[in-house]
Amino acid sequence: MLTSPLPSSGARRYRSLVPIAAGTTFLAAVVIAFANAYWISTFSSVVALALACSGIAVLYGQLGLVSLCQYALLGVGGWVALRVSHGLHASFEICLLAGGLVAAMIGVLWGLPAFRLRGLYLAVVTLMLAGTFQVVISASGFPDGGPGFFGRADAAQRQLMARPRIAEGDRAYLAYAFAVLLLGLILVELHRRSVPGRAWALIRRSETGALAAGVNIAFYKAWAFALSGFLAGIGGGLLAGAVGQLDGRAFTAADSILVFALTVVGGAYDWFGPIIAGLLLRAVPSLLTDFAVNGYIALVIFGVALLHALVTAPVGIAGQLSAVAARFSARLGRAGRRA
């Protein structure tokens, strides 16, 4: 079944946090130790996008909802983080949180149609919202230290967003970003292992059944949208901090579609699926550039991968890797017993 197993009771319930912490830390250590400056900056965006993808994974993996505006929500988070940073000179964490919270609120607002209309219409509505955001943000731009609320600075006076004091350098900032990603992944896992996760699983199975079991459907759906928006918003803040400023023209509806597509390809049911999605979104195009392959080839590959994932591998790359690992450990277990 595609729905996550119902959480077991007691402390064992949280055992799944161990591989998440270990895996993320290991990846972070390897990248920070070995990557050159180019890949350090690429990975900063990978991490930011992985957070946004983990939000999609909550909606699609837990509730089967298709949201095509996640990159726009990332933009909302980035906008708020930049605004707070330039306007109040608040600490980086405050900027991140503000971005996350506002994106969470917008996420719930944009998810409102899901309470009334499901499925296809939600996908269409979120696509329209991503398109509207694209039009608005490319006309108005992101805060860059210019005067006033919507003020734009001249090219020479554009300011970069202040990074956290403990992570001014690129390498340190990447470590910081990985730490935030880990917190985000833990937050998602805790949700999946406790009351909201059970409620989502019930809603996914049957809304009527969930209603009969006393689940407040609207509340838990809103919660999922809020969590998804929060993660995208935090990702947006991280991206703004990594680059220093954001380009309004870079937040297109096509990006939102790609973020969704590659989350499905990466795997929406395993904790590391969003990280694979982030790698596909940012690291694979960088790799192709390294090998001087036309960037459009990546689009073709992503399209084929999405169709492949939908038709034959609904669990995505992460799900397939998990299955291989499970088979391997089962074989090891049998061999151990025999010895």
Partner: protein
């Protein structure tokens, strides 16, 4: 009023194409249950094929026909090979599948034709009528006439012919249609073919009237979806009217300085409003 008239004229031409593409989407959705998000990318394929052949010195009618054939073939390939594999999944998953197709088309077009700005030029661009001191190129008039003829034609086909009856039966209930002996697969392929031809014609018009750019043309599926949603994904007339209104609305905002940069948001706003006004109907919920 004087300032708005030229924009009204240009908006009507584009609106007619939006109407045409909206109707193409609805015909496919009603019959197969697939909301084809690759519709714009398919149209782009037709425009690029036609452009290449015209550049190579071929006569325009041949080039246009080749473009439409290419698009119809693309539509049939997806409808025949991929769509049946998703036939029993949620409608939203089937729509997401067409996103994959759109990415493939977009990537292939970008890879083969590159990003150089182009325009598809047709002989009809240079001829024009003057109505109330507003120039109306033959291309726009042609777009209007084509839209009227094709929408009326498809409406007649659905209402009067045996094929249309089968298509409407499929829209009502796939399984029951199969039981009473309707060849579900064949009828669906016909729907993919019709919608592919519509997409091709729309793509060529938009490549001429707007710009020949893959990304832009791919996302011109949005006004078409907006029109289709306004027609609740089933009404042909409502869809066509909404398409024209979106085109006109977008164009009329051009001379208003304060709103002009935001005018491309018109189709989004129309679709959002249409969804907000949509009644909570069983058929809407059952997806």
């Amino acid at each position: 009023m004087e300032t708005f008239l030229p924009f009204l004229a240009s908006g009507t031409g584009i609106g007619a194409v939006y109407a045409l593409s909206g109707v193409g989407l609805v015909v496919l959705y009603r019959t197969t249950g697939v909301l084809n998000l690759a519709y714009g990318a398919l149209g782009a394929l037709a425009a690029f094929v036609a452009w290449t052949m015209i550049e190579a010195g071929q006569p325009a009618p041949l080039a246009i026909s080749a473009g439409i054939v290419a698009t119809a073939a693309g539509s049939l390939v997806y409808g025949g090979l991929i769509a049946p594999r998703l036939a029993y999944r949620d409608r939203v998953v089937r729509a997401v599948g067409t996103l994959g197709f759109a990415l493939i088309l977009l990537g292939a077009i970008g890879w083969y034709w590159g990003e150089a700005p182009r325009r598809l030029l047709l002989a009809t661009d240079k001829l024009y009528l003057e109505l109330w001191s507003v120039r109306l190129t033959y291309t726009r008039i042609l777009a209007l006439i084509t839209a009227l003829v094709m929408v009326a034609g498809v409406a007649l086909l659905l209402r009067r012919s045996r094929l249309g009856l089968s298509m409407r039966a499929l829209a009502d209930d796939r399984n029951v249609s199969a039981v009473v002996g309707i060849k579900v697969g064949t009828i669906e392929m016909v729907a993919w073919l019709i919608s592919g031809v519509f997409a091709g014609i729309c793509g060529i018009f938009l490549g001429d009237l707007v710009r020949l750019e893959a990304h832009l043309l791919t996302f011109l599926v949005v006004p078409a979806i907006s029109a289709a949603i306004a027609g609740r994904l089933s009404g042909l007339t409502e869809t066509a009217v909404a398409g024209v209104l979106i085109g006109v609305g977008e164009a009329l905002l051009t001379p208003i300085q304060a709103i002009a940069p935001y005018r491309t948001a018109v189709p989004f706003v129309v679709a959002l409003a249409a969804v907000a006004l949509l009644p909570t109907h069983r058929s809407v919920e059952s997806d």
